[in-house]
Amino acid sequence: MKSSTTVQVPELVAKLGEGPDWLAERRQAAFERFRALGFPTTRDEAWRYTNVSPIARTHFRSAEPDWARAVSLLERAWVGESAVRLVLVDGRYVESLSRMPQQSGVRAMSLQRAIEQNPELVRAELARLAVFDNHAFTAWNTACFADGAVVIVEPGRVLDGAVHILHLSTGGSEPVVSHPRVLVLAGRQSQFAVVEEYLGPDGQVYLANAVTEIVCADGAVVEHYKLEREAQQAYHVAAIWARLGRDSQFTSHLVGLGSALSRHDVVVILAGPGSEAVLNGLYLVDGQRHADYQTLLHHVAPHCQSREDYKGILAGAGTGVFNGKIRVEPAAQKTDAIQHNKNLLLSREATINTKPQLEIYADDVRCTHGATVGQLEEEQLFYLQSRGMSAEEAKAALVVAFAGEVVERFRLAPLRAAVKGYIGEVARTL
């Protein structure tokens, strides 16, 4: 499988020449790397439990927006107290569906416009953090993204309401691919939340191959939410990269409810002393669906703290993978890292592969991790039934309750109720 001949990317070459020289160079390098890597196989340790041959076999075309579908998807999207709403349809920014910021100190725009208006800033940060040396999908995105979203918050700004980035895939008569690209630059001591939501129409086969880069300057406080609500037949591959400056705080909330096959890589680099990272995740798979979560908390600087809690709900013949790595470099003394992964199996056929990993090269640290796999408790089900809830309602309530702890950590209160609702919708069908 590891040969460039299996990589069929008709839109690839078309994109290479676009944009300024520096971008063309980066695209070219990514293209070369993608060709050299090919799609990963289960012989690669990082892809051991996720077989992407359904993606590798598919001849994807570049997505062309279906506007009727885009509009009906909009109705299913989170409607919250967002300060800004950027809508990307099949990876391209659509101004007529978007809402620009009214507050000063925040710039939100399409990636294409950002490249024109803020060339130095974008050049300094775009495709720097998300290294693609060992990640074919990130290389593919970098070579091929058509557009994306850029959010720049000035130093010291505290935003009211979230920046909502809505990624809509509209599918097509044949399988299509889009490469959404997001860059978030948090100025010194700025504070805000970004909500990335991915939605697609049921029944459509498409691949959303997303890359998000978040740069937190010193003292910034950034909450990043990702709601993956893709169509049940879709493929979703995404990488989220964050770099944390001195005394900054970064929280990643990741809720994965959709996709036939999804893969999420979350990499947080604690580069500045005193920085703090929280990874808060929830995944739910049923039917024949598969979800793979790979997280890396990379402790580079001393006196940093990380907290990770991922919860999984696995039903039907669904399969899940959690691989959480904490890597502590020699200089990262006084690191304080705790990681948990808790899974709820709702059927005999469901599977979870969970692997917490510690790689510690410093000697004065506190790192703990743990993983559990359990089932619904009969006594809890009986208790709820004895109060008048049907067996199905009781089961759904317990699934939502299991997910509740993850949702309760959302600082954005309006999103809590909405996400509980999304989880409840799925839970009632399990």
Binding site: F382, Y383, S386, G388, S390, A401, E408
Partner: protein, 256 residues
């Protein structure tokens, strides 16, 4: 006298193949409070759980007729919707399930069954706050996850709160008095007493006579080795308290 709420005849049940109930007979009329006392292992909690429909118990014989219907054929939720309520000996903790949201879901499930509309959110809040205040349950407890971080007494008060909101026809209290201090005991007893009515009946399962000073029973039954071996008025509870369960073992045990 009106029709009985519950008629239990020769009820037998096993857990993991081991017989626990060995032929229980019990008839409860509206307005009555029945106390069931007995030593540990006599089967009184099993009786409570079988009546509520716990599937761990296998009913091997006999019948239970509730308001003219075969109770044993009903699912636990059907029993609840028809008006059977069990206050658990050990109320379960469910992290992530908000106490008040749960109570509202339960009430609405029962209201739907009775052909009523869902309760208005404002009316519900008023109702719960008023009942909670009477039971000495704080607002904070109402907004926590169900029973999580509750003391033993708080869990039992919460059961009585559910009882007072769900308004069952037949309430079964399984050792609700165990582990309560006197203040909690009085609060629970008062909660039960205010719920007493000519249409409603209670079965109070208890190990101790103490609760019965506050919730005065009409009938007291003594259970031993899976059967009701003696029934009488409230003075039977006092006698049992005075003479202890060893007396029972001597008299009943030696007779068989």
């Amino acid at each position: 006298m009106s029709e009985p709420i519950l008629v239990v005849r020769d009820l037998r049940a096993c857990v993991n193949g081991k017989p626990i109930l060995k032929g229980v007979d019990l008839t409860v009329y509206p307005g009555q409070v029945h106390a069931i006392m007995g030593p540990n292992g006599s089967g009184k909690s099993t009786l409570a759980q079988v009546l509520a429909g716990h599937e761990i118990y296998e009913v091997t014989g006999g019948e239970a007729i509730y308001c003219g219907k075969n109770l044993l054929e009903m699912k636990p939720e059907e029993r609840a919707r028809e008006g059977v309520f069990l206050a658990f000996q050990y109320p379960v903790e469910i992290p992530g399930l908000n106490n008040m949201e749960f109570l509202r879901a339960a009430l609405n499930a029962i209201r739907k069954h009775r052909g009523l509309e869902e309760i208005d959110a404002f009316d519900f809040l008023n109702l719960v706050q008023e009942r909670a205040r009477r039971l000495g349950i704080s607002e904070e407890l109402l907004n926590r996850s169900l029973n999580v971080g509750f003391s033993g007494g708080e869990k039992k008060r919460n059961e009585i709160l559910q009882l007072s909101i769900l308004e069952p026809r037949l309430a079964i209290l399984d050792e609700t008095d165990s582990g309560l201090d006197i203040d909690a005991l009085k609060a629970v007893a008062e909660g039960v007493n205010t719920m007493r009515s000519p249409e409603r009946a209670f079965i109070v399962v208890t190990h101790y006579q103490r609760l019965l000073n506050y919730v005065v029973p009409d009938v007291v039954h003594i259970m031993y080795d899976g059967r009701i071996v003696q029934s009488g008025g409230k003075e039977l509870a006092e006698e049992l308290e005075r003479r202890g369960y060893s007396w029972l073992e001597e008299t009943v045990g030696s007779a068989r």
